[in-house]
Amino acid sequence: MDPTVLNTLNAERRARRAAILVTDLGDGSSRIVRESDTVAGGLGEATRQAFRTGRSQAIEVDGRTLFLNAHLPPPRIVIVGAVHISQALAPMARLAGFDVEIIDPRTAFATPERFPEVDLHAEWPQDVLGRKPLDAFTALAAVTHDPKIDDFPLLSALEAGCFYVGALGSRKTHAKRVERLLSQGATQAQIDRIRAPIGLDIAASSPAEIAVAVLAQIVQALRTRGTERAETAAAE
């Protein structure tokens, strides 16, 4: 392998960007494919699938055997709001394999006693996200339904292209939120990406049930990234 290929791959991984290392198993030559690259033919189809599933495998293209090693950043969930739902969502999400962070400037909510073993920030979202920005492999769930706390991270998530953006609140609350976000420069296409009311419709009632609905919706968004199904799900 050419050392510059390895350095490029590692730089992409450090930056939490997806990359696929394509190695010709016949002659050992290799190249990096980024998610924004246009790749035609059988290889293009296989790389698009690998970006979606994260699965690495050998494929046959034009008589050559290519190994596609998919390097997807570990998915994380940023939860805005150290509320009752979050107390259930955080441990469930960890079990499902996500990195979890919780942000809530209200120190009465964001206590280590309520959130043991969670990466908890009792700070304003703008401060935390300034240090550690959102990205395409991060899901954002805003669950305080307080505009002062939720609006900034929602706008940031839409700008960053988070694979999931969900906001708690009734349809009425969300309608007002949409007006505010539009007036702050969000586009209608961005607004349409917000899952609100939050969570898959499983008629969830308790905070823990709502957490199940939110986590299921996040998994669905992750596993259908870049497909028609994802767009349909978002539009529902």
Binding site: M1, N10, R13, R14, R16, S56, Q57, A70, G97
Partner: protein, 112 residues
């Protein structure tokens, strides 16, 4: 999926390979490219090896790493990549101990 947000520089095989190369070491990278049955490490897993036989990462549950390291040292000197296959169907591989019933193919190449 792991619990770290960015690759762990001290344990990630590809990060270590880059670091070793920068330190002027000769390095080989082994990659699991195909698995059958109950192989312990999925396709895409890496073992990185230097010319002295130091290694990081894994391509199995510790069963065939020794054999891969020995081949890698040869590949570092020759520069020619090689495909290795281990499994219960292979007498040699049985001896090196992939007793879990799986079969794996491991591509070993020199870095640079």
């Amino acid at each position: 999926m792991t619990q770290v947000a960015t690759p762990d520089e001290a344990r990630d095989p590809l990060m270590i390979a880059e670091q070793w190369k920068n330190e002027g070491k000769d390095v080989a990278i082994a990659t699991v490219v195909e698995t059958w049955g109950s192989a312990p490490r999925p396709a895409g897993s890496h073992l990185v090896i230097d010319a002295d036989g130091n290694f990081h990462g894994s391509v199995s549950g510790g069963c065939v790493e020794g054999a891969v390291v020995a081949e890698a040292v040869d590949i570092i000197s020759s520069g020619t990549p090689r495909m290795l296959e281990f499994g219960v169907a292979d007498e040699t591989a049985w001896q090196v101990g992939l007793s879990c019933g799986g079969r794996i193919r491991v591509f070993v190449e020199r870095l640079g």
